[in-house]
Symmetry: C2
Subunit: 215 residues, 2 copies
DNA sequence: AAATTAAGTGTACAGGTGTTGACTTAAATC
DNA sequence: GATTTAAGTCAACACCTGTACACTTAATTT
């Protein structure tokens, strides 16, 4: 990661064991247990490699975990950025964004399951990393809301509060969606519909609230 | 639990080991790891008892977990019932309910931490039990909302949606509060304040939303 | 007072765990 | 082509795990 001393980068092409280890861990998280309770041996076994080979790629399991976390959020951030820089928010854009997001969740089930379980049950390091990431999303959302014409009379603190409400709720609905069977399209659409209604309430509700109770 | 065959109940007064085991497990959950990754031996050690003594009280660890879950929700339900049957909802009642609730959370930190970690990381049995319990709270809340004069023109489905929004959010804030240090009163008050603002938005927002967009 | 039962202890075993060190081998660099 | 380095294997260790079985002991029932 830090070393690139010589002129030409030397890439170990042969061993994609590193990726295999990460995939194995993710796999075990999906169909067995939270990451925190996976054993090194179990992961290497599933990766089709001898236990000691693990140390060629990670110092210990928690390092693997952090790498997995990084991977999860790097691609998620990428997607979020694409969603954000679409045209100005309007009526249909809310539904559209939610569809893109939940579609992404469905296509990255393993990563979301991993993150979801670690958010509550992981080591403090893990939990903090995840919470920091979520806080970042909340801040960005608050900034986007500020450009929403309907909301431009709402102060920064209240925007933050609203964004928190949205993020908390979407997080919960994501976990709900992860509990559904992968092919339960009915259930998934139901969650999506609920999400849309709830966000609509939040967005439109604040207009009323602010104009009435400014005290 | 089921047996009470003879005339007089025979209580094993000597061994409060059962309670000790439950307390030990809860203790370990607070300061170490999610319940799922506790070992039987570690629990018995902390309870000050030999490993095999465990089997006199529970068939295995997951039975202990379910008992713990039962205990957690039995007292929580009791508190909720008291909060609910207060006088009709009004302005100050929102704040009051939240204070009672979060105070309860603070006084039952271990149980909430346990539940919070199991909600995402537990066995399917555990997760379902918890989710069922939460769904129950949501339903009860929806019923309470129906009696709210401000909301009596909202149909059942939307009430359910609103209640879900409230419960999701309070759940998230509960987890946020559990991450704070026990003596961080400032942070705790901040969470409480956020909660109040957010719920106010939900409650008052819907009035505007429904009267405007009935479509 | 005798008998029964609940609840504790100690020993033992088979298996899983993380990590060590020395060895092999294939690829990348010189 | 020789050498260095990255990435794999194998064997061994000390420890922790759940659970079976036989044993003790105190309390409750009879």
């Amino acid at each position: 990661m830090t070393k690139e001393t010589t002129s030409r980068a030397r890439k170990p092409k042969r061993g994609q064991t590193r990726e295999a280890l990460m995939a194995a861990a993710l796999d075990l998280v999906v169909k067995k247990a939270p990451f925190s309770s996976l054993s090194l041996r179990e992961v290497t076994k599933r990766a089709g490699v001898v236990p000691t080979a693990f140390y060629r790629h990670f110092p210990d399991m928690s390092a693997l975990g952090l790498t997995l976390l990084d991977e999860s959020f790097r691609t998620l951030r990428h997607m979020m950025r694409q969603v954000r820089q679409e045209e100005l928010p309007n009526e249909r854009m809310l539904r559209g964004s939610l569809e893109v997001y939940f579609n992404y969740v469905r296509n990255n089930r393993a990563h979301f399951l991993f993150v979801s379980k670690e958010l509550a049950g992981g080591t403090p390091t893990m939990r903090n990393a995840i919470r920091r990431e979520i806080r970042m999303f909340t801040n960005e959302l608050a900034m986007d809301m500020a450009r929403f014409p309907f909301l431009n009379h709402v102060n920064a603190e209240d925007l933050q509060m609203m964004a928190g409400l949205v993020v908390n709720n979407v997080t919960a609905l994501t976990q709900e969606m992860l509990e559904l069977e992968e092919d339960d399209e009915f259930g998934q659409n139901q969650v999506l519909g609920t999400a849309e209604k709830q966000l609509r309430l939040i967005y439109f509700g604040v207009g009323f609230w602010k104009s009435k109770a400014d005290q």
